[in-house]
Symmetry: none
Subunit: 240 residues, 2 copies
DNA sequence: AACAGCAACTGGTCTAGACAACCACTAATA
DNA sequence: TATTAGTGGTTGTCTAGACCAGTTGCTGTT
């Protein structure tokens, strides 16, 4: 059950196991978990290590603690939904659709005024421009254009884009993606969008601009997306 | 600096101190904190206790860690901005505009299927239907329709609506508003919207549906809004 | 000038205990 | 019967170490 020689830390292994048990329904909502000491004894590890695992799950909203009583399974219903989804892939999967992409173009171009301003780089600095059609269950959903500083992310190729762009970035850049701002507006499909999305002229389009930043505030990417209004609604949940 | 006999745990005392130093500007954003070992030595406590304090601050977004380098102050500025703005009034004020309203109609009607489903009430139960034009600096921005259960909120009048609807609700209902879901989509202006918003035919419209819930999950209101696409963009910030 | 290797840092993980605070339950007591 | 005092469970806090794994800068070699 626990592999002490695994590169995955012990506490992470415990987290995964408990999460699995919750998702499988082995642990029902508001039912008590085994106590920390029981876990420690069972896995022959220190209680502090168990606490680290449980603390993380409490912070993620899977469990809650009550001093003197025990640790219990939270009911997830709401926060399960979608809080911080950033990628098209995650978004579509959450909707039960199968996401894919078709690369339209991939170039390095000099930054124009708008791009330079969004990415906080100088005018004419080299940027990747990646144009893709995003599909869900093989139906075109959106036309997406990504801009990223070529000086920040080096060695990007078509192959990498087609595999997993964001995985490459996370590995390449030491700092992880931290936050994003999204701006949504309504507009009418341009000629380009009509062609690639296979929609009638003058169709409504949901236009989304996303700027993603690293933890130190460096802009990582600037993305423009044109979503088909007949197929895509954007939903957010605001808490508190 | 640290009182070991205080009822407030040591880690909580450290948290407060670091928070204070950040707020006072003693610790600038992205500057390194003293190392965990330094804290432990200075306060003559165990390093694990220091880690507990720092972990909490990392989870709250005040700090971030980098293995091998140190612990740094995060910049909070963004999430300070707008997290959960729900009301048109707040939204417009945040944009530096002067919000106002023009009441178009105010009636009590029997809930249709859609309304009953959104408000979790029975079909034909009485609901308020409030139609308003929302203006910013006296320019029409949106056409808004609010539905609320008349059995939940009693004694609503035109006068109250024109004063402050949400203030009345907060005072009337014991439970406060807790969370909201918003759905955004792009569409084309209907005849009604063209008339009231004074826009050309076939103009793009940003359509927003908002459902607000009380802390116990009771639906409070169901709001449909049609925003002029030429004047309104919707912005959100997603963290972590 | 470029490089490799080392040393001294950093945070990450983990141990094997300890005592306190709190809770539920039971048994003894007024 | 109602109250109280235990008792054995839980989580909460804390210690004083250990070793691992990254990062950085220095130092000597090439």
């Amino acid at each position: 059950m626990i592999d002490k020689s695994s590169p995955l830390p012990i506490y992470a292994q415990i987290e995964e196991q408990i999460k699995r048990q919750i998702e499988n329904g082995e642990f029902q909502a508001h039912h008590a978990l085994p106590s920390e000491r029981e876990y420690a004894e069972q896995f022959e590890i220190s209680r502090m290590t168990v606490r680290q695992a449980i603390n993380n799950l409490v912070n993620d909203g899977y469990l809650y603690r009550q001093k003197g009583r025990g640790t219990f399974v939270a009911d997830k219903k709401l926060e399960q939904q979608l809080n911080g989804l950033t990628s098209f892939t995650e978004d579509m999967k959450a909707r039960g659709l199968n996401p894919s992409s078709k690369l339209l173009s991939f170039e390095i171009i000099p930054a124009n005024k708008k791009i330079a301003s969004e990415l906080h780089i100088s005018l004419y600095a080299p940027v990747y421009e990646i144009k893709r059609i995003r599909l869900a269950d093989d139906v075109p959903m959106a036309l997406e254009t990504v801009y990223m500083s070529a000086n920040l992310i080096k060695g990007l190729t078509e192959e990498i884009i087609n595999l997993s762009l964001y995985q490459y970035i996370e590995n390449y850049v030491k700092l992880k993606m931290d936050y994003a701002t999204q701006t949504l507006e309504s507009s009418i499909a341009s000629e380009l969008e009509v062609t690639h999305l296979a929609i009638p002229k003058h169709s409504p389009i949901l236009f989304i601009q996303r700027n993603t930043f690293l933890i130190d505030g460096t802009p990582l990417e600037y993305v423009k997306s044109a979503y088909r209004a007949d197929r895509y609604k954007f939903t957010i949940t605001i808490t508190r």
